[in-house]
Symmetry: C2
Subunit: 213 residues, 2 copies
């Protein structure tokens, strides 16, 4: 399997490669990075709250959330590269010959398998962002007020990451003929995303309110 190390390149190079016609990173990798940034903002709020007398009553929660955001941001960083690695087989399958009926059949079957692999990255990004959203919601109440704007930025990024990942799920689902497979993902992801969008928007408004806007 081709290995990817996009998370190890500089922010500048990531952006430059993104803007080129290179096959990766694409929307999926960007969704993963954006999710990691949103999650890390939650981690920052924990780091700035931990050990502060004023928030001593939440210390245990803050430590738990910090451990969890560390874990989720790590997974999202890995997903930048997993999403790229999941895409390579598909980009190769597009190049398969389809001159004979047999070749056509083989190509279509291979493509179908590859679409099911390619969709996994964005699906996983959505699931992890979902966990991160719940943590930021908690931080809006328990995190240091001095860092409340960072909670606001965090939910804005997580919402964008989740919706971006969803667009990349849809692109793949549109190509998958296995209706049971596509319906199961839709049933799982759409209500989850809709509920998280509402939470993110509520937290953003709450933050604006705290800032007097």
């Amino acid at each position: 399997m081709e290995k990817s190390n996009l998370r190890g390149v500089s922010c500048t190079d990531f952006v430059l490669q993104l803007s080129s016609k290179a096959p990766v990173p694409g929307g999926g990798g960007v969704a993963a990075l954006t999710g990691a940034l949103g999650t890390a903002l939650g981690g920052m709020v924990c780091s700035l709250t931990a050990g502060k007398k004023k928030y001593a009553q939440y210390e245990d929660d803050i430590q738990r959330i910090l451990q969890k955001t560390d874990e989720l941001q790590q997974k999202l960083l890995q997903l930048i590269d997993e999403d790229a690695e999941n895409f390579y087989p598909l980009s190769r399958a597009y190049g398969l010959p389809k001159d004979t009926e047999e070749e056509k059949k083989t190509k279509e079957e291979t493509l179908q398998k590859c679409f099911k692999v390619a969709v996994q990255g964005p699906v996983e990004i959505m699931r992890i962002c979902h966990e991160a959203v719940a943590l930021e919601e908690e931080l809006a109440d328990k995190g240091s007020r001095l860092a409340v704007s960072d909670v606001g930025c965090g939910v804005l990024l997580l919402k964008a990451a989740m919706q971006s990942a969803w667009l990349n799920v849809v692109v793949n689902l549109n190509c998958i003929t296995d209706q049971i497979f596509t319906e199961e993902l839709r049933k799982e992801l759409i209500p989850m995303m809709e509920s998280d969008i509402t939470i993110c928007e509520d937290v953003y408004r709450k933050v604006l309110g705290i800032l007097g806007e």
Copy 2:
């Protein structure tokens, strides 16, 4: 002046440093990076459309947009570090003594100058994202249909970047006593942001529609 090179560190290290209690990067730097990612997605759509027969009628527009997205993403990457550099004097000013009346006065005057410097980064991020939004809007019509989901991701990220920058503008405006200064920025930025949010949401819905959602 202290120099920053956050845009040169790896995505992984950027995320790790963000989640720590290090003073930078913060919400402003993340807004700049998110804006750069959103803009670069527009550049990618141009890269994938340029030279294609099917879109020959838009070739000149695509070349113009590509040149512009390159320039804007470059500025946004620079703003990751400018925002950090603008923050250092403020973080030093917080440490000034305030034991005597004279010291108090000097500290408050210094802080006021520093807030006006610190707000510049997020303000500039909003202005540049505003330019990028107009380009993505054009790409929703003129860009390759094969990359339409990337236009959708692009506007989602630009919206999140602009709103994140706005939160960081507000945090600074709340500390600035010069009402003429704060009112002028509010008059410029709020209508711009509201109009861009509407555009981004319209483009996102349009993209979903093209994808059959």
